[in-house]
Symmetry: C2
Subunit: 176 residues, 2 copies
Amino acid sequence: MHKIKEKIRTVPNWPKQGVMFRDVTTLLKDAHGFKHMIDLLYERYKDSKVDVVIGIEARGFITGSVLAHRLNVGFVPIRKKGKLPAEVVSEEYDLEYGTDKIEIHKDAIRPEDKVLIFDDLIATGGTALASCKLVEKLGGNILECSFIVDLPELGGRKKLEKAGYKVFSLVDFEGE
Amino acid sequence: MHKIKEKIRTVPNWPKQGVMFRDVTTLLKDAHGFKHMIDLLYERYKDSKVDVVIGIEARGFITGSVLAHRLNVGFVPIRKKGKLPAEVVSEEYDLEYGTDKIEIHKDAIRPEDKVLIFDDLIATGGTALASCKLVEKLGGNILECSFIVDLPELGGRKKLEKAGYKVFSLVDFEGE
């Protein structure tokens, strides 16, 4: 996975002082890196009988939709509140200060669908956990939560695993 | 294209009274519809020697990134202001009331790159036109602006064509 990792740019002190932001846009714009990443994800899930891939707004849309296409299944977006036009179910999650909501269309998942949840990065895991709950509200089964980047120090993976969900990431950044 | 069109849901009076919102999420979640759409777009551009596909935040990320993957090129996001972590160039565009800004990373495009711009829908064409200007600020050449849905009555296609850009859409909704 080191070829993936070396193509991810680190932007120090963004969006605020002290944060090392892991920027996957440098991986996505690199045709070889982008293809290599998708191939790795495809290999992991090609025999998993995934019914639908969910991407979490906004950066999760990018790789999530490509993975859906490669697996030859549908793609479903989970969006911030007020962005989806038809009937939705909502789930609250914690921000650093206060809370926010994410939503999914009520008719986006069929009961018993095997669902792969995708985002580009897991930090505290708040939106990923809320996404799992949304899918379960609609009767779907979570196959796994999948990410390009894990930041283990922020505890998101542990939070998801403690709640009973499988977690996968292509790379992680720890103590760097 | 009628198979594409019939899978797009119309939500009346969203986001406000009198608007017929064309919702592509019903197309994207349909494995066959999603694949058919991507195949049509791939056929159109496979011999065009595209260097990079740009997707406009947020819904343009979904199909734009899949098209980039199929064409075996890199994907570059154009985002709303303040979302990209590294050095950007910005371009203003008009909203119904006031203005807003979109941005692209300065190092996302190389001079003379042949760029395909993708969004899910063209209405008034404001963000698409601003996206073309961003790409040109970085020295890129616009191959075409490509959309799933065109709403011709809102004048976006004419605006882009008048400015010298090629425009393609898979389907249009007019007087419906």
